[in-house]
Symmetry: C2
Subunit: 221 residues, 2 copies
Amino acid sequence: MIYATQDIIDTLKGARAAKGLSQRALSKRTGIPQSHISKIESGGTDIRLSSLIELARALDLDLKLVPRKAVPAVDSVVRGTVPTVSATPAIRELNRTLEAIRNLSAVYPNLSELKQLRDGFHALKTLRDVGQKLGALRDIGKRIRGLQQTGSNLAKWGSPIEQSKAAHHEANIPAEHLQALRGAVSAVQNLRNRLVHTQPWQPSPPRPAYRLDDVGEDEDG
Amino acid sequence: MIYATQDIIDTLKGARAAKGLSQRALSKRTGIPQSHISKIESGGTDIRLSSLIELARALDLDLKLVPRKAVPAVDSVVRGTVPTVSATPAIRELNRTLEAIRNLSAVYPNLSELKQLRDGFHALKTLRDVGQKLGALRDIGKRIRGLQQTGSNLAKWGSPIEQSKAAHHEANIPAEHLQALRGAVSAVQNLRNRLVHTQPWQPSPPRPAYRLDDVGEDEDG
DNA sequence: ATCATTGATATGCTTTGCTATATCATTGTT
DNA sequence: AACAATGATATAGCAAAGCATATCAATGAT
């Protein structure tokens, strides 16, 4: 519709894409129907403030009213805080897999392999030349994502209800899944080693800690 | 309702107050009914994006989605750009009178006295100790505001329709009004002289920074 | 004491966001 | 070829925004 409206919508859309979230995934996070998200992103509706804030929150964005004259400075700061303006395919792929890992963590909490995986992917994100390994990233991501769609038993893994249910009586992971996870872990470590080897003077990763709900730390790169 | 919602609403409310705009004045600017603005400000409604942007635009605010990670920096920048956290009564009074001057300018365009008045008030805003002259400011403001409510002939001065109508066949100002305007001009100049005299080493163009309450005075000539 | 301004509310009415549930065409994967 | 994921669309119904118009109490100005 209006010019400023489209700007906001585009930001939402871009942030979602950068995080590797599908409309359905975002829908499950926010409780907003996918059909509605589609309508919003195509500019076909005049979204309400509560919905906007809900979407923004799920995308780690904060809605701010900034004085017009401060806008250039604010834009500059935002650009400075967020390394690259638009997410690279590699970053999108990383975030997408990170999301899958998060979903798996909801089903299998306290699984050290998942923690290692998440740690490894976070480390990968700090490496500048990760874009050169897009193929390998997609490969690993594919394997990990494959674990969450095993039949319909995990079909609704994204919904908060199922999450809490899963957290209660912890499911036991199939042996082959565990094996796949361990394979992924070593693949990630392998990949990282190769990348670090390429750029030996890379400073040690400034991300010491990670949180369980660390998706909030993902930046659209 | 939600925290973030209230934050936005409070900003709108504060910006309006800082500009010395009544709900009705803002209503005329935006086309949004005063009753609705009241409901919005009291948190009783889930405003739509288009309305929010419309209100923001009228208050010289811009709606931004900023990455959570960048929020502290953005807040800092905004705070740094806006020296006055909350508008002082003197600034509010100044903006309120500036608004009245703008309305009069819509009725009497090309009236040099109005231009002088606006310039004078603009200059006053740059003086740090203007707060000491609140009484005088109110006095002058009262006189100026008195000119816009002469009967109902100017009752709807705020609406865009009436503004454009007025711009077409330029009304001629009553003699006593012109005289009042000239009196106000010299009063403002007098006031500014006294203030400048009080602080002789005021740096020439302080132009320190922008203010939240600083109306975009440049737009309507 | 009269009158204008302000913000809060109310009412009737229309529009539209939002939900819930599906379907569909594309695309990519096995 | 079979299958899953994606985004776009559709329908029906409910709730709420939004508009227009008024009224009212409190405040302040003349």
